[in-house]
Symmetry: C2
Subunit: 480 residues, 2 copies
């Protein structure tokens, strides 16, 4: 055996190993499993290596980046600082701009009757019946078929409708004003649980619910909101939502806390109603924990309407599904970029239901995910955690996914779990295409075909194709 | 230089250092600051080395441990599984057992008028005036002074009262039943914010609030609760509290969510009230986010009443303050173990207020901390985090402190941040004395002397002396 020579120490394996892993996390997982520290850099080939998208990204992140970033900053400012104020309700015919006489507004991008999915088809027929234009579903369907009733996307009339909602001119609408931006937006009164058209039902009870909303809920709520506004000024919808977020709402899938806050604000004015029908309204409100959803949607739409004016921005300012197509819009354009509506994943189903009985993702409520509510707010909601793995760590992961594709953070929607930082807002189409991460949308699920209503809820992952189309359109526009 | 000999490898310093630190965490902090792993075992000399307490602990953890642990398990079962049901309201004179005609019930342990602190003194005088026994504060005080009005601790009549509350026989009380245990408990209607006796005020407006509660709120709430009970059965108070906890309430310092849930449950029945005074009730409810506090307290008291029967247990089944003394009770005994009421720490003050203008800790609400609400539930409440350091990590620390002195965990009050484990319940007097950690109580703070009402809120740390006295009494009792 030889002894070691004197001199500099013999190089040896380091006593500690630390690793930076780039790319496939499988390697990182293996190292972490051996108990060593590892920083996992989740690098993927941008845009999945798609040459057309990569070329567009090179331009949109390169020479055009400064102009785009400036436009985006203005969109972030509008989405973050605009103050949507609830001022009252009125029949759609009286307030919704450009609404024709025999028109039904529906959720999602434009669609031909032949392509409408089963739950929305039923909801549209229910709305036609509630208007008194037809006595039964067949007759209602025939009117639409023959073009005697016109279908219009609600979004084309500053209106947003959740799930499979469809409404006619007599439906009462929430009116929300964004005074800084000079914009207004509308949403119908949430129809509540059970046998209701927005869940794809067209039974007599479902049609009756639309009549109740028109005859009882609309006028009485307007009286109460009017009194509240007279007493304390218009209601700051996003201030209510911000409180709700501190109370476990994501303000999309769950609006329990925000609903209760709004009801307590209205309470003295509800109790001041003289009509005995107030008791019926009370039963409806007590049983509807998604009552605030539509108010939040109208509020979001009033800010989106303002942001849509900022030409040259890469921030998504429209995201809606009709159960057949999923569409996004960019500022300065009326164009919808479409992809097939995806299934809803991370779902919890009612007994006996599953993916095979589920309709694809549907409704305008996905616009909430553009303003920092829903998926971006997951880290604030134990209820959402139940859908994405069960722990708050899972919910935080969902928020962090949204961080990667968003251009800003809300200054009003705060996450207690993340030391009160704001929720991600303003989805940048460049980041979506670059990373392949698309918005996560917390949503309900309807039966695909039998008109039995809701079958579950879950988190939908937006399809990347429509974002890619939007990116290419932006690139073409800025290159021309 | 000599070369190394062949043979076994030369012992050397380990390439990695990991440390288990026992005792003062300063050492651990220093090691952690050097980036090395450290497990900090927070060991202290038990009972601070107090020989009498150490000897008692040796017996209560030694030969008597099995019997005590069995009794404690039964107390945990009662506190955890009892179902407090809200059944209605009635005037104290009609339902509170053993209540004399000219008696005022007050918060906290028994106390002589001469020792009553300023805010409680004012509140008692306001209650005497509201009963119509005196026309002004001086006259009211003289009646008590002369013994023409009797002071009784509410706790001696199955009743609990928050902050500086005091009530006479005409005050309407919440009635909560624990049917498994055959116990009932009571609390007054929460007086709301502003110029109110429970905050130590005795102005005409404060007295008027007591009259409003008696003439308007009590009867109308009873009508609404009665209708709700008739329609859906008694209201499970802790089911509401459990939901509230998922919505950011600690259900002590903050009851916003639970209040709103209860109001929405009552909504149809409130709207069915025919009395035009319902509007006044509506204004009161809309402005009172601590409305649920007293209901939760009566519910907790109904379980405590059941747990008090379990002789030989070391679980605290009474914890109350009158602003002068802080008292605890153990099962199988009516004895109060007292210490001076402590100041409230971790406080946030209204402008111009501070420790020098603050009365000591006051009210019966500390019993919530025995059943898993308040301090033990801090990890569920962003609002509480604001008082103890600002982050949810600080709030979690508070819950973990309570873990160290509690014998069980709630199966209904779940903490989303801690993967939905239950809040700590059932404070074991042995652990309190052993560790020196006392219950943390989330509470409001009143002005010490000028009758101006609330000056802030914070987290009170219970004084260890009364737990020590209770421990020694238990040891004596079990040794005799």
């Amino acid at each position: 055996m030889s002894s070691s020579p004197p001199g500099p120490p013999v190089p040896s394996l380091p006593s500690e190993v630390a690793v930076v892993n780039v790319g496939l996390s499988l390697f990182a997982d293996a190292i972490a499993a051996q108990g060593r520290p590892v920083a996992d850099v989740d690098w993927r080939i941008p845009a999945g290596g798609d040459p057309e998208a990569v070329a567009a990204l090179r331009r949109l992140y390169g020479p055009r980046a400064t102009a785009i970033d400036e436009a985006n900053a203005e969109v972030v400012r509008r989405l973050d600082t605009g103050v949507p104020l609830l001022i009252g309700l009125a029949p759609a015919a009286d307030v919704v701009p450009g609404l024709g006489e025999r028109t039904i507004l529906h959720c999602g991008p434009p669609i031909a009757w032949a392509d409408v999915c089963d739950p929305l088809r039923r909801s549209i027929r229910a709305a036609v019946m509630a208007e008194g234009w037809a006595a039964d579903p067949d007759e209602a369907g025939a009117l639409v078929e023959k073009g005697e009733v016109t279908l219009e996307p609600a979004n084309h009339h500053d209106t947003v409708l959740p799930m499979a909602s469809a409404v006619g001119p007599s439906a009462w609408m929430w009116i929300v004003e964004n005074r800084d931006g000079g914009t207004r937006a509308f949403s119908a009164i949430n129809q509540g649980p059970g046998e209701v058209p927005w869940f794809g039902r067209e039974t007599p009870a479902a049609v009756e619910r639309l009549r109740f909303l028109r005859e009882v809920a609309g006028p009485l709520l307007n009286e109460a909101v009017g009194a509240a506004v007279a007493a304390g000024g218009p209601i700051d919808v996003f201030a209510v939502a911000a409180q709700g977020l501190q109370m476990g709402d994501d303000v999309h899938m769950r609006t329990q806390a925000s609903t209760n806050l709004l009801i307590r604000t209205l309470l003295p004015h509800l109790l001041a109603l003289e009509s005995p029908a107030r008791v019926e309204l009370g039963r409806f409100l007590a049983g509807n924990h998604l009552f605030f959803l539509n108010v939040a949607m109208a509020a979001a739409r009033s800010l989106i309407a303002w942001a849509r004016d900022v030409d040259g921005s890469s921030i998504v300012v429209g995201m809606a599904r009709n159960g057949t197509t999923f569409g996004v819009r960019l500022p300065g354009s009326d164009e919808w970029h479409l992809a097939p509506s995806p299934p809803v994943g991370h779902a919890l189903y009612y007994s006996g239901q599953g993916p095979e009985t589920s309709a694809p993702d549907i409704g305008d409520s996905a616009l909430l995910e553009l303003v920092g509510l829903g998926g971006p707010a997951a880290a604030g909601s134990p209820a959402v955690a139940g859908f994405v793995g069960g722990t708050m760590a899972d919910a935080i992961k969902l928020t962090r996914d949204m961080d990667q594709i968003c251009a800003g953070r809300s200054s009003r929607f705060k996450l207690a779990l993340l030391d009160f930082r704001g929720t991600p807002i303003a989805v940048d189409v460049r980041r979506v295409v670059e990373t392949g991460i698309t918005p996560r949308i917390n949503t309900g699920i309807l039966h695909v075909s039998d008109g039995s209503g809701q079958v579950g809820a879950g988190v939908a992952v937006a399809p990347v194709e429509c974002f890619r189309t939007a990116l290419l359109a932006l690139d073409r526009k800025l290159s021309s």
